[in-house]
């Protein structure tokens, strides 16, 4: 069945792959502090969410 939002993207080919170490992300957080993802994780499991915007 055709899904109207099927834009033909194969996510297995996009972004970090399962089994791969997630690259470190070093960016400012909501307080302007530069944070390293892996450091902040501190050896724990993590969920990394990509979203469109907190503004719209």
């Amino acid at each position: 069945m055709t899904v109207v939002t099927d834009f033909g993207i194969d996510f297995s080919q996009i972004g970090p792959a399962v089994g791969e170490r997630f690259p470190d992300v070093i960016l400012p957080d909501q307080n302007g502090t530069t944070v390293s993802l892996h450091q902040a994780r501190g050896g724990r499991r993590a969920l990394v969410v990509f979203h469109r915007s907190a503004g719209w």
Binding site: T5, F7, F11, G15, F22, P28, R45, F50
Partner: protein
């Protein structure tokens, strides 16, 4: 828990304060990291066309919406993404479908049954948001000593099938079937694949039009058989009401 978007720090700060968010919201202004990770949504303008809204240039730079689950060593163990910035899964389905964690938070389960099979059907939630992907889950209990057929199936036999009655704007994806077991009947050459006991089937449904409360009508068709013979084919029909969430998102219009 970490989130990444192209918002500037101030926008994230206000958002975090408003919703009491204490986890890290990364500010990727200019989408450098989003791009470097290969997650830039290149189809955003096509998606505007598909949704019937004017091209919004400030939308360019958004990533595909989705999540990565990392283990203690920082390796990706799961990833779940949607094609468009509007199609997102519910938290329940990310837990259940993505990470195999059964959640007790679902939509109301609707039971029904016919000869040999009991069904309980439920959605992720009792409410829907425009374009949100909801998983419809059906838990089937097949009576002991009976089985129903899966695919592939020889001609003339009736496989377990699930259909959702059409509704305006309703898009139904492919069901995810459990693996059936191979089965041979004495005296017959054909190979069958069967389901027995308790099985779970899930299929994604998306309501692409904003609107009022809807009722999803789900039909489960099957033929229950024993070693000795088969019952007449049956169709179980279930009705699952789903209410429009209070704040259904509306497309932006200039």
């Amino acid at each position: 828990m970490f989130a990444i978007s192209y918002d500037p720090v101030e926008v994230l700060h206000n958002f975090a304060a408003k919703y009491g968010i204490t986890y890290t919201l990364f500010s990727d202004v200019g989408s450098q990291v989003i791009r470097a990770l290969g997650l830039l949504n290149e189809q955003v303008y096509e998606q505007h066309t598909a949704y019937g809204i004017p091209k919004q240039e400030h939308h360019y730079g958004v990533p595909y919406p989705g999540v990565f689950l990392l283990d203690a060593q920082g390796k990706v163990t799961e990833k779940r993404f949607q094609q468009s910035y509007r199609e997102r899964e519910t938290g329940v389905s990310i837990l259940e479908q993505g990470f195999g964690i059964t959640s007790s938070l679902h939509g109301t389960a609707v039971p029904s049954q016919a000869e040999g099979v009991k069904v309980q059907a439920y959605l992720d939630a009792d409410t829907y948001r425009f374009f949100q992907r909801l998983w419809l889950t059906l838990d089937l209990t097949i009576e002991p000593h009976l089985h129903v057929y899966g695919q592939p199936i020889p001609e003339g036999f009736i496989p377990l099938a699930i259909e959702v009655a059409p509704l305006p704007g309703l898009v139904v994806g492919e069901p995810q079937w459990p693996t059936p077991r191979p089965f041979r009947l004495e005296g017959l050459d054909e190979e069958f694949y069967i389901y027995e006991g308790n099985i779970r089937v899930a299929l994604p449904v998306t309501l692409t039009q904003e609107g009022d409360d809807q009722t999803l009508k789900v039909m489960v068709r099957y033929q229950a058989c024993s070693q000795m013979g088969c019952f007449a084919p049956q169709t179980i029909t279930l009705e699952l009401p789903v209410r429009a969430a209070d704040h259904v998102e509306r497309p932006r219009r200039r």
